[in-house]
């Protein structure tokens, strides 16, 4: 009898521990789900209470609509003038995205040239730094004078504003290669282009994406600021017009549309990053 019992115990032991492992796994997954839910709900609560506070302040202090609108007024404007807002978002979006593409492409190409021709980097990097020290609000009028009043100066501003952070990050990413990996490539008799594509470029991807994420928001800022100077369409122009008209609800609605676009742009880049950078970079930053 005792013998049998012991046998049963021995047989049960691994099963018991497997059961325990499963139970632990389930508990872990449940706590993960709770965490995820909390991460979604808490920011929503934060935003909601901010809007409530805003509504309360406007009502309690009887703030006149030409100083600050109530959230209800802003929502009403968003709905009523949705077509106007979208019609003005379109040029801004085109300018921001084209500037983003142009500026970053130029930065990537120039970073590649700099890495392969050190003397060019030494000659021209200071020029780039110099141009970058000019504030956007000062660059914008210069470019409007140079390029007229169309979309071109806005695209140029958006491109310029993207260019510098991407150039710096890209150069750093292409150069900060593990020296032993470079030696490995030499032991394998790899050509320069193989070293570039298989090592430097891949190494630079995480750096590139952290620059692109910054560029996604700054390109929109660049386009909007450029539109402040003598433009009739675009989010920037709409901001100026509604300010002059003391149309605070329209001003706020415009700002919300602009930032929403900016956030969506940023999220798109983050999505691309998830797709392309699946590894954990050696030197996370």
């Amino acid at each position: 009898m005792t013998d049998l019992a012991t046998h049963a115990d021995i047989a049960a032991a691994p099963r018991a521990s497997a059961d325990r492992l499963r139970a632990e796994e389930e508990a872990f997954l449940a706590s993960q789900r709770r965490d995820r839910l909390r991460r979604r709900i808490l920011p929503a609560i934060g935003v909601a209470s901010f809007i409530l506070l805003w509504a309360a302040l406007v009502t309690v202090f009887k703030v006149p609509p030409y100083v600050a609108p109530s959230p209800q007024a802003v929502v009403a404007t968003l709905v009523a003038r949705f077509d106007v807002l979208m019609a003005n978002l379109l040029p801004t979006a085109i300018e921001a995205i084209s500037g983003f593409l142009l500026g970053n492409l130029a930065a990537i190409v120039i970073a590649t040239v700099f890495v392969h021709r050190k003397s060019l980097e030494q000659a021209f990097f200071p020029v780039v730094v110099l141009i970058n020290t000019i504030p956007v609000v000062a660059k914008a009028p210069i470019l409007v004078l140079l390029m007229g009043n169309g979309m071109e100066p806005k695209i140029a501003i958006a491109a310029l504003i993207c260019f510098f952070p991407t150039l710096v990050n890209m150069v750093r990413g292409l150069e900060s290669v593990n020296p032993q990996a470079l030696e490995l490539m030499r032991v394998l008799s790899a050509s320069n282009s193989e070293i570039f594509f298989k090592l430097r470029l891949m190494n630079a991807l995480p750096y590139l994406f952290s620059a692109l994420k910054i560029a996604a928001s700054t390109a929109v800022i660049g386009a909007i600021v450029a539109e402040w100077i003598g433009s009739t369409t675009g989010i920037g122009a709409l901001i100026i017009q509604s300010t002059y008209n003391f149309d605070s609800a329209m001003l706020y609605a415009t700002v919300i549309v602009g930032s929403t676009f900016s956030v969506l742009f940023f999220l798109a880049i983050t999505g691309l990053e998830r797709l392309f950078v699946r590894w954990r970079p050696a030197n996370a930053h």
């Binding site: 032993q180 990996a181 790899a190 298989k198």
Partner: protein, 258 residues
């Protein structure tokens, strides 16, 4: 039979504005084909430099080197060399298998020589089957070194150069990899030049040990290890092993005093 590695009067000087360093001075030694030689010495005595000279990563200031009967450059171009670095040097965006496959994607090689082990077989040889699709950050330090060894073995190099490959590992892992390395050496028949600053590792692994002294790096002693070819880690407790290790330490001590 020509030596697998033949260094004659090799000196390496690094020039710099602040201070120039003589990393190696008049170093001569030979490694027989199929031999296993440890390079043993204190930090900064030029072990890595010597390995880099053999791998054609540095040209010596003086002296001549021949590798597998030709110049280091020819040997490198012919893919006769495998190099294992101290920090594994895996590419973090490639899985274990893709890292082992890298040598097939660069340097004009697209296929393995006839009869050479495939990347999967090499991962199995180093005990990593089942980990093919893991990224380096998902592997332990010891596993990463094994991937690096598998990569160095791809294409069946006749000379394997290893620069303190287990230096950053704990003693238990290092012991196990030492045993595995001897097994791999006997299975592949490759010549191995192995850098370490551990006396025990040097003596356990090799059939010959070259002890270097520092400042400038020069040969302190060359010792043939008369231990049986078939050995396991327990050999480290035998009086013969202890005696050899004591002798090696004495050589190193002398080198430091000079």
């Amino acid at each position: 039979m020509t030596a697998a590695v033949d260094c004659r009067g090799v000196s390496v000087r690094f020039l710099s504005e602040r201070r120039s360093v003589t990393a190696l001075e008049d170093v001569s030694f030979e490694v027989a084909p199929g031999g296993f030689m440890s390079l043993l010495g204190p930090s900064g005595c030029g072990k890595s430099t010597l390995l880099r000279v053999v791998a054609d990563l540095i040209t010596p200031s003086e002296g001549s080197v021949s590798v597998l009967g030709t110049t280091p450059q020819e040997a490198r171009r012919a893919r006769a060399l495998g190099f294992v670095f101290q920090d594994a040097a895996l590419l973090p965006w490639r899985t274990a298998l893709q890292n082992v496959e890298l040598p097939l994607e660069v340097g004009g090689r697209r296929s393995l020589p006839q009869g050479a082990a495939s990347p999967r077989e090499l991962l199995k040889l180093v005990g990593l089957s089942g980990w093919e699709n893991s990224y380096p950050h998902e592997l332990s330090g010891g596993m990463r070194q094994r991937v690096a060894i598998a990569r160095a073995l791809l294409g069946g190099p006749r000379l394997l150069l290893m620069d303190e490959p287990f230096g950053a590992l704990d003693e238990i892992t290092r012991d196990r990899l030492n045993e595995e390395l001897r097994r791999i050496w006997m299975e592949t028949g490759a010549t191995i030049l192995f850098v370490t600053h551990s006396v025990y590792e040097a003596v356990y692994l090799a059939d010959r040990v070259l002890a270097l002294a520092a400042h400038p790096g020069r040969v302190a002693a060359m010792e043939t290890i008369g231990l049986p070819r078939d050995r396991d880690l327990s050999i480290r407790d035998t009086p013969e092993f202890v005696a050899i290790a004591a002798r090696m330490r004495a050589h190193l001590g002398h080198g430091a005093i000079h």
